[in-house]
């Protein structure tokens, strides 16, 4: 795999950012887009645009086919059984809200428990929180250990006869811990508890096989996966999509609408109310093709090497403290720097063209437990190189210099 050739496919790197070469270390936040994805959006709007699933004219039929092609590409990419198990949403956030809302409506009541982990992004906590008020449910948090991991044991300890659903991240966007989601799913299923996986950080970096993982729901954020913004995916086993109530109401998701009542459409329309992010869905097909062409195994290998290298150089830097040291770790490096607040780090690094994220990364529960108000985070994508990590380290030394005077 030739990273230079891959990097060349991302037009953002052709331009200077404030007179610097861009060192993009914020892919866990959102990834950059390859030219094929950008072009696909342009081509669709300039040559092929029409709304999908409504009209019978040529363009409408062609657009509908393109839209549905992406569904099949995604189905194959994650090895789902049926294309109808793929629901397009506005983001992973909406995908999780969809499940929390509909599953909550149908299956949850007073005193029922939802099991999350302390690693969860706000997107996989806040949607469940609403059910505290509306349904009187209890939310429990499986603890992470000193390495920043959530183990199978930690999940097991928190399961009670009242646990009705488990919702966990695949890969922590702060510590990088990869959770044993297959084992957690086996355990949960042995107790008849369904499992939702927040796959935002898993999907761009790890091989996905829904049959092997076995989870009931898997939420994906397309913009973190070399795809467009405004688009997410909910994978859900058909048995759930069939029994859960619809989420949003509107055009496209109905069968018959009468003054006295309404019947709802079949899958996948049932969960795709209104005009969807058509151009984004079609362009996301190119993201999947891009990933397939390189091979997710190759991406994983490349990112693992870089992560190890990054950990090594940051460990050698005495002023840096890495957050978490999970054995099974994705390409996220969160850290603090002695005497320098994360936001000051981010501003100083930015001056060198090094883009990182600073803050709580939408994980306040985690940061509170660590007693930190903010951390800095460098996260990797397929286009990163060791050179990028060296530049990160150099800029961190510059921070130290500025602050030590």
């Amino acid at each position: 795999m030739n990273i230079n050739n891959i990097k060349k496919q991302f037009p953002i790197f052709n331009n200077k950012v404030q007179n610097n070469d861009l060192v993009y270390l914020d892919s866990a936040n959102s990834s950059q887009k390859p030219q094929v994805v950008v072009d696909r959006i342009y081509d669709f709007y300039t040559k092929e645009f029409s709304n999908v699933g409504r009209s019978v004219h040529y363009l409408a039929v062609a657009a509908t086919n393109l839209y549905e092609n992406t569904r099949v590409l995604v189905q194959k990419y994650i090895n789902a059984k049926d294309p109808n198990e793929i629901v397009f949403t506005k983001g992973a956030t909406e995908a999780i809200n969809l499940v929390a809302n509909t599953f909550g409506q149908k299956f949850l009541g007073e005193g029922d428990e939802i099991l999350l982990t302390e690693l969860e992004h706000h997107s996989n906590y806040v949607p469940w929180h609403y059910l505290r008020k509306s349904k009187g449910v209890k939310i429990k948090f499986a603890e992470f250990n000193s390495d920043g991991e959530v183990t199978l044991e930690s999940i097991e300890k928190n399961i009670t006869p009242k646990t009705k659903i488990i919702a966990i991240t695949h890969l922590s966007n702060v510590t990088g811990a990869i959770l044993p989601i297959k084992e957690i799913t086996r355990l949960a299923h042995s107790k008849n508890i369904p499992v939702l996986v927040d796959g935002c950080q898993g999907a761009p970096h790890l091989k996905l096989d829904m049959q092997e993982i076995g989870c009931d729901f898997y939420a994906i954020s397309c913009h973190k996966m070399y795809g467009p913004t405004g688009l997410g995916i909910l994978y859900a086993k058909k048995k759930w999509l069939e029994v859960l109530p619809p989420y949003q109401g509107g055009g496209g998701m109905i069968r018959e609408v009468k003054k006295e009542g309404i019947t709802f459409g079949e899958l996948p329309n049932k969960y795709e109310a209104g005009t969807m992010a058509t151009a984004q869905v079609i362009a996301f097909g190119e993201s999947i093709k891009f990933l397939n062409k390189i091979g997710i195994e190759n991406i994983e290998k490349h990112e693992n090497e870089l992560t190890k290298y990054g950990e090594e150089i940051l460990r050698k830097n005495n002023s840096v403290k890495l957050i978490g040291s999970p054995k099974d770790k994705g390409s996220v490096l969160s850290f603090t720097l002695d005497g320098v607040h994360a936001h000051d780090i981010a501003t100083i690094l930015d001056e060198d063209g090094v883009a990182i994220r600073a803050g709580h990364h939408c994980c306040q529960i985690l940061h509170d437990k660590l007693g930190l108000s903010a951390t800095a985070r460098a996260s990797l994508g397929v286009y990163n190189t060791k050179d990028d990590l060296d530049k990160l380290n150099e800029s961190l030394n510059k921070c130290k210099k500025i602050f030590e005077g």
Partner: protein
Amino acid sequence: MDLKDLYQEIILDHGKNPRNLKKSDNFNKDAKGHNPLCGDKVHIYLKVDENNKISDIAFEGSGCAISMASASIMTDLMKERKEVEVKELVDDFLEMIKQNPELKSKILGENEKTKLMSLSGVKKYPMRVKCATMAWHTLTAAMKNANEETNTDKFE
């Protein structure tokens, strides 16, 4: 270089050794400020005497060098100020950060002006402006003894 404007000596000094950083046990007005975007927090304690003068001021908080330095410099500046002066100084500072090239207030000494102007480096960093202004907005809230947390999302 812009970074040197942002992280001037004065800022680094106040950021590392903030003045008046303590919980006051002698206060009659207070308010909290919070920047939800970055998690910075500040809690300002005031002792305002019968002449509407700040006889004691302190703050607690955590945040970046800019926000800590700003709270430190601000609290130093406000000691022994009357309510009208506080308002004048807050407005002048916020106007300077927003648009004015200089501070206008006549009640500021040269030394004080220099200290305040050291915070003007944030003008080139739109994402960091609130770091510099949070303590000042929170001071205004504290003068009113506002119970509701001052949230930077609500600033103009």
